[in-house]
Symmetry: C2
């Protein structure tokens, strides 16, 4: 059908978007300052800065729609492109997701429950916020926070000043510590015509703030949780006239959900959908932004995704696992870097759990509190 998509950012999310789009005859051009990027290895890439007006203009003029795959893209870049060609999801979603204070205010305005939070711009305000919210609490910088970066758990008053120093006095929020039982995410997608599709709730396990494991579907996610998660996403979708794939991260506490943050893009906790759902989040994102019918978000059996962080085991070991699907991103090893993931599938939860354990062992990471 010869459709053309421009993408701001060229990381692994962009790489998987391209691989999902090629079978639909979608062509891609990526823009990213880093050459040799994961997406640039499988598609054309403009190596240019986010402030390179000529490159942004070229990306915009030669694509029928532009999207983004990277959270921290300067909003002015997305706005510049949107003057020339449609940008989906709307740049406003990016702007909100980039600022924790704006994001929390946005949740609050929509009546979506979150942990209590207070805006903090000085040590004095931090001290007053701690008195208001109580400790433990988490100090989070408003900007550039992802994968646990820019977050400091404060247990007692003596840690307030060191935490304020640790964030370098950057504008932040102090958030009440939520003694959550688990983290869930609600993946969803919305088309240009407003059609909305939800994947079942999935369960996420982090280590040092970085996602390590997603289990699909989440166990014991009854109708009530599902309804709460979907209602929250629907409110966001309608408020933003959203188009594309979307992820809402949620904490579960005593059968209630608290919104943590949202990602206005395909999301790591949705990688399992490549093999574990009828239509992957990547294909559905493309279908959405290109105005095509959305694909089914039903699961294909049970699955689990394990991230490979810092290093990758011998691929033969992973490929020898039953129903294991390996995705490597073409990145060099480095501590804390997401280099790939493996998804295991199974016809039932018990087999999936067994396969997930085996995959974790090969990857060299085991959850502290084994969910299986």
């Amino acid at each position: 059908m010869q459709r053309s998509v421009g993408v701001l950012g060229a990381g692994q999310l962009g790489r998987m978007l391209a691989l999902a789009g090629y079978p639909l005859e979608v062509s891609f051009r990526f823009l990213d300052p880093k050459s040799g990027s994961p997406a640039g290895q499988v598609a054309e890439q403009l190596v240019a800065g986010w402030d390179d007006g000529a490159a942004l203009e070229r990306l915009a003029r030669e694509a029928e729609v532009v999207t983004f795959e990277f959270e921290s893209i300067p909003e002015p870049a997305a706005r510049r492109v949107s003057e020339l060609t449609p940008v989906r999801p709307p740049p406003e979603a990016l702007a909100i997701a980039q600022d924790r204070l704006v994001e929390k205010n946005f949740f609050s305005e929509l009546g979506i429950p979150t942990a209590r939070y207070v805006n903090v711009t000085s040590l004095a305000e931090l001290e007053s916020a701690a008195r208001e919210i109580g400790l433990p609490a988490v100090l989070k910088t408003r900007r550039l926070g992802y994968d646990g970066k820019g977050q400091y758990l404060i247990r007692q008053e003596s840690e307030l000043s060191p935490a304020w120093q640790a964030v370098g006095g950057a504008p932040s929020i102090l958030e009440a510590w939520v003694p959550f039982e688990r983290e869930l995410s609600q993946l969803a997608v919305r088309g240009i015509d407003g059609t909305t599709a939800f994947y079942p709730l999935v369960e996420n396990h982090h280590d040092k703030g970085v996602l390590r494991l997603t289990i699909a579907p989440a166990a014991r996610a009854g109708e009530e949780l599902e309804r709460a998660a979907r209602d929250a996403v629907r409110k966001i979708f309608e408020r933003l006239d959203y188009v594309g794939a979307f992820a809402l991260e949620l904490f579960e506490v005593d059968g209630k959900l608290f919104a943590n943050e949202f990602a206005p893009r395909v999301h790591n906790s949705g990688h399992f959908t490549i093999e574990g759902a009828v239509t992957s989040q990547f294909e559905n994102h493309l279908r959405a932004i290109l105005g095509l019918p959305l694909g089914s978000t039903a699961l294909r059996g049970y699955s689990a995704m394990v991230n490979m962080i810092g290093n990758v085991p011998e691929p033969a070991e992973l490929l020898a696992l039953p129903d294991a699907h390996v995705h490597l991103y073409g990145k060099g090893p480095a501590p804390g870097r997401k280099l790939g993931h493996v998804t295991v599938c199974a016809p039932d939860a018990a087999t999936r759990d067994q396969r997930a354990r085996a995959a974790c062992q090969v990857v060299g990471w085991l959850p502290q509190k084994p969910p299986f």
Copy 2:
């Protein structure tokens, strides 16, 4: 893992190989005389003739293994490459598959049942062959026959001379007409260490000699048929010390199987494996030629693949079908040209049949003798 594969030919089979290999960090370079090819749109392509020694040498030297995706690659090209780097499957398999007489002799030597056939090099020999085998019979050129090309059904004696003229007096075989009930194919893959994996038998439907529909798994394919098909493939694998994906086309007549031809490569009747099997034929081909463990060939439910030939319907119509997976090859429309395929999946045969019918309707082709 940064593996490198060279591929002779850059058609849709090569394109789907590349898309299966990228998640494993396999890089690809294709060689094909036609620029703008399906694989060249998603990977690097050397645009060069099959007799371009320098290009063949470059392909060989910069890849750890070279494979082929196109049946009619001149065997000398494969041989030349194999002097410099491993070629898998073995070029001998290509040479056999390119010559119907050699192929039939090969089947016969291995004790694999085929239709009766006689070598024909002149009209006089054709007449004598017709007396020996009886009519109806099929005149098939030894070389360059695929998708029904170079084949002429002869019903009565008066058609012998016109048929001989139609093949231009090219070296041919006359083959007894097999009143087959259906055509099946046995897809399989063999690793470097001899490990062999078989996909379940699938059922194929052709129109004017071109594959239009594959149904997986084939209905009523009992243990006996399966054993016969696998035994035939095993004999071929062992005789050739074969490595890679493979397809054996078979006619079923009164519960017996007759080998028609084999393809020493990924095969159109195996495209359904992308969504319909745990591991696709494309990924398994790469795993095999790279010395990696083979993936499971178990099916994921029921599926059917419908080819899009000559033209492609509005993609939105296909994408609106439930559990339909669209694969377009990046080719311009032309009569008889394979432009893409759509695979429908379902949890049971009845639903699959219903979805296959719907897909056939959108594609604009319905089998004369509906299998569902």
